[in-house]
């Protein structure tokens, strides 16, 4: 199957920090509208696209938002101060370029301190080249958000880019949807907001949809880089079927269904026991009376940096697994 580089490139370069998911939502709507029966946007901004069927109600969730920075202050000389939207590291932020929704570019630098390891976000600032506050305010206001600027790079089976967390999940969902020939199950492709701020969009959308089964599509880390924390997941070793993270213990029957589906269809997979982190399934599985939920993970190196790195074959295997799962008859 041909890798749709143009789609992924468009997804990752579209501005969409948590709370500002409008642009990527528009892009996704345009991409999928011919393939689904209904499209709805809920109160928090989640995009819910339904492919009707008479079987189990399945909610598939991938988050549209990305981590970013929010401007909290503009000083007399035109320098911007900021707070984090989601998991932003001060060490990783130094020397990054950032881009605002209106295209304004800035660079992040730091106050002079003795020990750079002790830098907090409040010691950093953004320089957008304005000579004073007045000039800065022509381009940027307090409350505006920006994201790391990054380039999309593809070579052989490898892709490196910012924001693959979780545009790659959105990509997997879109591609699975396009390849779907039909389904007996009633499937809700849900592109969620504010995952990076605490799995918020998935909570309200799951309540609205009230599904029988939840499946999140998100990235996970790897343990295959020099002296990394021990973790059995590696790049190029297949799609990762989650067993547990801090937000969810995958329902044994869902885990079993995922493993069997992978085996039956000869899809390369690996098992994932993650000792930190969480995904949309963390919220979905606790909605109302409970929703048995699982997670398809795409192994990713250098998470939350502008150099998130994935393997195309892992992505393809994730699409195949999702597509087959959607067609599966579930007995819970």
């Amino acid at each position: 199957m041909e890798f749709n580089s143009d789609l992924l490139k468009n997804l990752v370069k579209t501005f969409s920090p948590s709370g500002n998911e409008e642009r990527v939502r528009e892009l996704i709507i345009n991409e999928i509208k011919d393939y689904v029966d209904e499209i709805e946007i809920d109160n928090l901004g989640n995009l819910i696209a339904r492919k009707k069927g008479s079987g189990k109600k399945i909610m598939i969730a991938g988050h549209m938002d990305q981590i970013g920075l929010m401007i909290t202050d503009i000083d007399k000389k035109g320098f911007l101060r900021f707070t984090n939207i989601g998991g932003i590291s001060s060490l990783l932020s130094i020397s990054q370029r950032v881009i605002f929704e209106n295209g304004t570019i800035g660079v992040i630098s730091n106050e002079n301190v003795e020990d750079k390891n002790k830098l907090k976000l409040e010691n950093l600032y953004i320089d957008i080249g304005a000579k004073d506050k007045e000039e800065a305010e022509k381009k940027v206001n307090v409350g505006d958000s920006c994201v790391y600027l990054s380039e999309y790079y593809e070579e052989g089976s490898r892709i490196t880019s910012g924001c693959l967390d979780d545009r790659i999940g959105c990509y997997v969902m879109i591609e699975a949807l396009k390849r779907l020939e039909g389904t007996n199950n009633d499937v809700y492709f849900t592109f969620t907001v504010q995952e990076e701020l605490g799995i918020r969009g998935a909570k309200t959308s799951a309540y609205k949809i009230n599904p029988d089964i939840g499946i999140a599509v998100d990235i996970t880390g790897t343990g295959d880089t020099p002296k990394s924390k021990r973790f059995a997941v590696g790049l190029g070793k297949g799609t990762a079927i989650k067993v547990m993270d801090k937000s969810v213990i995958v329902h044994p029957k869902i885990k079993e269904a995922m493993v069997n589906t992978a085996k039956e269809n000869k899809i390369k997979y690996q098992m994932e026991v993650l000792e930190y982190g969480g995904t949309d399934s963390g919220s979905i599985h606790l909605s109302r009376e409970g929703v048995p939920s699982g997670v398809i993970s795409i192994p990713t190196r250098y998470i939350h940096s502008p150099n998130e790195t994935i393997n195309k074959e892992d992505v393809e295997n994730s699409i195949l697994l999702l597509k087959e799962l959607i067609n599966k008859e579930f007995n819970l």
């Binding site: 059995a232 213990i249 329902h251 409970g290």
Partner: protein
Amino acid sequence: MNTLEFLKYLSNSTSVSGYEENISEYIVNTFKEYSDDIDYDKLGSVIAIKRGTNNVSNLKIMLAAHMDEIGLMVKDFDDSGTIRFTSVGGIDPRTLVAQEVIVHGKREVFGVIGTKPPHLQDSSDSDKAFEMDDLYIDIGYDKKTVKELICIGDIITINREFTELQGNSVTGKALDDKAGVATMLQCAKELKKLNHQADVYFVSTIQEEVGTRGAITSTYKINPDIGIAIDVGFGKTPELDKADSIEMKKGPAITLGGNIHPTLRQKLIEVAEEYNIPYQIEVESGPTGTDARSMQISMAGVPCLLISLPLRYMHTTVETINMDDIKNSGNLIARFISEITSDNLEGYLCY
């Protein structure tokens, strides 16, 4: 069913958080004798329902004790065939050194937990505690066989038999909170002798140890008028402050604090005094670390009570409890339930 036998079976069984299904059938079969209906929430919490008499206003009292236990999970293998693991729920790695385990793979496989041998350690290391990553499980096979038997994500339990000690004291690996489930059984037995108007929901909840998750989903399903959580509390030992602990064999600890409905709790104390059931007081200012935490804020809110059973050495493999405390707790809850009617409840709930 004898309460002690019930507790013994549960303690010796495996029900690590997320994998409680193993004991649901046993719980269902035991509670059937004392209830009218059996139901489940969608994540597997077991709900046994005992109907009340003349319950025209559909009064519902929910009891919750968690059926899951802490445990370990396989996360990786070494070339030597040893197994690396993580914990499910909070476990002090220092309590794991030199334990026997059962790895629940294709079949149940016995193993032991090892560490770097003393002669390879620096002498200065002896004051340093072991961390989880320093420990491994040896099941005595080479890597190839190990991988045939065991898969990443399989669960692991400590191999420890339930035993009776002196007096009415017992010890086991997972009395937290199987002692609470046993207390519900004691309550159900006592309720058979009493009249009660409310429908009583005995809920064995799942996944308490990883975030009171079963209480979230089961309470939503039931939407009770009153929620009563039953969990274990810190039994007094010399190294503990009196203020942080409760006394063994001095009866159920009735919890006070924001998570607990103040006037309803007063009624519970009155019932204890009226029927001469010993009790003690425990305080917790914010949300408790029990199912009551989630029950209280379910839907439009649920008035909650919490009964703590004094238990020593919590989250180790030698948890101990006194059967008298289980009996008194079960009886107290039963008496309390029999005194609640739709007519008087409003008064007890009045702030």
